[in-house]
């Protein structure tokens, strides 16, 4: 038990040295660290609770997305039937999560079903045997029902969440400089973590804006006071919609239909009006939309068009000349900041669904700093206390062995955290402190066993050998059970609790290694050099 081959000894020393090298960058100031080679720059990742920052769990409103998908399907069916000659329906509407309708003439049914089936496309046209987007059913004589397939619902949800993540990334971090996390969590949530965030209110307002941009023609009715009154009451001619104007008590009646949406936008930036000198938002369209916009403006000279953002009219200028270059600017009552904010939002695009903050935890950098300091002081004092206690209990030799093992243990925890890229949280520090207390347990078990065996009359080498051999089973049993608790904690727990589980689990594994392997090597080396007649224990 106490004999270590040369290779084994070298292996153990190499492992400890490797741990030392990995842990070292954590122990020096950042100035010194910068002089290290790149492979030695890695330090323990500090959690948001220690460095300050914002953690938010956002829920994606998928129900409205699915409702929208059904509405789109309804529109698609309606326009396909309109394009097909003389195909008329008695009714066509969304009902119980499906598009339902009845064909007027029985002889048209066959043709209608064909059209409906053509509307159902493969979800992923590139994949062979991909499922269809909709399922078409014939109900009775002339009725039909179109539902969105499960697979398509899943695809829509996935796409919505992916798009949301992409839009959020561009909105919150347009320059890509902060180390933020944006990840899908569960079925309908997005986890957003911004380390070191200063202005949480700013982040939140960017999340909440939807930034749906569109251009509409203003209808003639807007000039009639009576029509405006009716519109305000919700009595609108078909195809028209009444939106309020920014910074104005009244609104305008505009055409619901639009061909120019946020997707047309190629780029947008804040700027100053070429003659007025007041802030404006410049925009340029992609080629396709530039053409449409050019035709629209040349056909409607002298008329007004409305720039609508999130169901609010920002501005409604008169068209003085055809805009064919595909670029222009939006005037409104902007400040430089609000113009910059708007162009940022337009560039990022619209969120495909509403996001609700269901959990928010933000910590200021000062509080994080206070926590690190408190944790450091508690760890160091805990460590010193335990070390003194071990020396007092086991005397200089065995006490030193236990304390060296403890120090190596903590160093290896730091090394493992750096290597794995695990995040150290405040509860994680608690886990380390707990490990400091418990790490000596394995050594205590061994030493007590040795003491017992020596007391039973065994010679020193034999007592130590037996002590190590007999304590192995209890050490493993005891630590495996704690490890089970730690692993359960990791998989079921959330957030900072996981940080605690990680340090605890790493601590357990490392403490078994240091007590059973490293401390044993130290004891064996000591035994061989001294060959004591009596154990100082």
């Amino acid at each position: 038990m106490l004999y270590f081959s040369k290779w084994k000894t070298l292996g153990i020393i190499a492992a400890v040295l490797f741990g030392f090298l990995l842990a070292l960058p954590n122990g020096v100031s950042s100035d010194v660290r910068e002089k290290f080679p790149e492979s030695m720059q890695r330090t323990v990742n500090l959690g948001l609770d220690l460095q300050g920052g914002a953690h938010m769990l956002l829920e994606v409103d998928l129900t409205s997305v699915l409702e929208q998908a059904l509405d789109n399907e309804l529109e698609a069916v309606r326009s396909a039937f309109r394009d097909a000659e003389r195909l008329q329906t008695e009714y066509l509407r969304v009902e119980n999560g499906a598009v339902v309708g009845r064909i007027r003439k029985a002889e048209d049914v066959e043709r209608a079903m064909g059209i409906l089936n053509d509307l159902s496309e493969a979800i992923d046209p590139t994949a062979l045997g991909s499922e269809k987007t909709t399922r078409v059913e014939k109900v009775g004589e002339r009725d039909f029902k179109v539902t969105i397939t499960e697979a398509n619902i899943e695809a829509i949800q996935k796409r919505t969440i992916e798009q949301s993540i992409e839009v959020l990334r561009r909105r919150i971090d347009p320059t890509g400089t902060t180390e933020m996390t944006l990840a899908r969590e569960g079925d309908d949530r997005i986890l957003l973590q911004v380390p070191g965030a200063k202005n949480v209110g700013d982040i939140k307002s960017r999340i909440n804006q939807t930034a749906n941009l569109s251009f509409h023609m203003v209808r003639e009715e807007s000039n009639s006071e009576r029509a405006m009154q009716l519109a305000a009451q919700g009595k609108l001619p078909p195809g028209a919609v009444y939106y309020l104007q920014q910074d104005s008590p009244s609104g305008l009646i505009i055409q619901k239909r639009t061909q120019i949406t946020g997707e047309c936008l190629k780029n947008s930036s804040e700027g100053l009006h070429p003659t007025g000198g007041y802030p404006i938002v410049n925009f340029s369209f992609n080629i396709k939309c530039a053409k449409i916009f050019g035709e629209l403006t040349s056909r409607n000279l002298g008329k007004r068009f409305a720039v609508v953002l999130d169901k609010e009219i920002i501005t409604a200028p008169r068209i003085n000349g055809a805009i064919t270059g595909g670029s222009g600017f939006i005037e409104g009552s902007f400040t430089l900041d609000s113009a910059r904010e708007l162009s940022l939002l337009l560039n990022a695009g619209a969120l495909p669904a509403k996001l609700i903050i269901v959990e928010e935890r933000t910590v200021s950098a000062e509080l994080g700093n206070d926590s690190i300091n408190a944790g450091k002081i508690a760890s160091i004092l805990g460590l010193i206390g335990v070390a003194i206690f071990m020396w007092m209990s086991y005397g200089l030799r065995f006490g030193t062995i236990a304390n060296l093992a403890l120090t190596i243990n903590i160093m290896l925890i730091a090394a493992a955290l750096s290597l794995l890229g695990a995040t150290l949280t405040l509860p994680g520090i608690a886990g380390i402190i707990l490990t400091i207390g418990m790490a000596v347990d394995a050594n205590v078990l061994i030493f007590e066993r040795i003491r017992e065996e020596a007391h039973n009359g065994r010679p020193p080498v034999n007592a130590i050998e037996t002590g190590y051999r007999l304590s192995l089973a209890p050490i493993l049993d005891a630590n495996i059970t704690t490890l089970i608790a730690a692993v359960t904690l990791y998989f079921v727990g959330s957030g900072p609790i996981r940080g605690f589980a990680v340090t605890l689990a790493i601590g357990i594994v490392m403490s078994v290694f240091t007590a059973v392997v490293v401390a044993r090597l130290m004891t064996a080396t000591w035994l061989r050099s001294r060959r004591p007649k009596k154990l100082p224990i």
């Binding site: 609770d49 949480v200 939140k204 609700i356 903050i357 269901v358 959990e359 928010e360 935890r361 933000t362 910590v363 200021s364 000062e366 300091n373 408190a374 944790g375 002081i377 508690a378 760890s379 004092l381 805990g382 206390g385 209990s393 086991y394 005397g395 200089l396 030799r397 065995f398 509860p427 520090i429 608690a430 402190i433 707990l434 400091i436 207390g437 418990m438 000596v440 347990d441 078990l445 007590e448 003491r451 017992e452 037996t466 051999r469 089973a473 209890p474 005891a478 059970t481 704690t482 089970i484 608790a485 359960t488 904690l489 079921v492 727990g493 609790i497 605690f500 605890l504 100082p536 224990i537």
Partner: protein
Amino acid sequence: MKDISLVRFLPKEPKIPFIKGRTIAAILSTLAMIASVYLFATKGLNYGIDFTGGTVIEIDTGADPEPDKIRATLAELGFGGGTVQNIAPPPDSGVDHDYVRVGIPLQPETEETGATAQQDALNAVIAGLKDSIGEFNIRNQDVVGSKVSGELREKGILSIVLALTMVLLYIWFRFEWQFGAGAVAALFHDVILTIGVFSLTQIEFNLSIIAAILTIVGYSLNDTVIVYDRIRENLRKFKKMPLPEVLNLSINDTLSRTILTSMTTLLALTALYFLGGDGLRGFSFAMIWGVLVGTYSSIFVASPLLLILKLKRGGKISGEVPAEV
């Protein structure tokens, strides 16, 4: 060089009749458990927002806060059920005034208030307080909605149940079933007493307390398994010795280890309790309590239970035995 090892003063072969005290211990434990359950049923736990949902903000007004003024503002805003609490700054931060923690209970998420009810409440309170007490720094803000808090609650219970089950399986696999049952009974004992003490003190019960309880489970088990291991070994070694005596001998054999490990763990945890700052106080308190209860239960609950469960000798009991005695 002469070593002064304190372990020399620990008796090498203690003969404390622990097993004789099992009746008193059983009565004591039963009473404590009944008291805990009673407290839990009547007073309940002071759940934190992790489990109830709601909003907590900690602010620094730059001077000692005026809790009454803050309370009045909350009442005015319609958050009468809110809590206001002074928080002492950490010992060496150089800050000479208290911080203040403001808690707002979960706002109903109805159709009318919308799903953003918590965020709206947070904004209203921050704006309202800025009006009444002037500018302040927000040190942290936690907002947990009803859905998330419900999930955290479920996960919390699930993690404790799951951990206990896994542990039971492991011990069952490694020992006789009586050991598994005894260990889990001792764990339940510890968990119930911990919940009891949190009900008594009304210290906030949050996610980190769940972590603490799970660690107590791990620690107490550590202790129990060490004693069990020795029982198993002594059963093989002393084939003729009556079971109560084997149990007593095993507890005494491992006593010095139990004391030393408890001491070092308590030392580290005490440092954490006093110096780890406000965020870890409840957690370290739970752990200190857990170490004390866990040590007690491995001696007075887990081992005597083997007698009641009628542990049979022979069977699966194995393990390494020293060649000579």
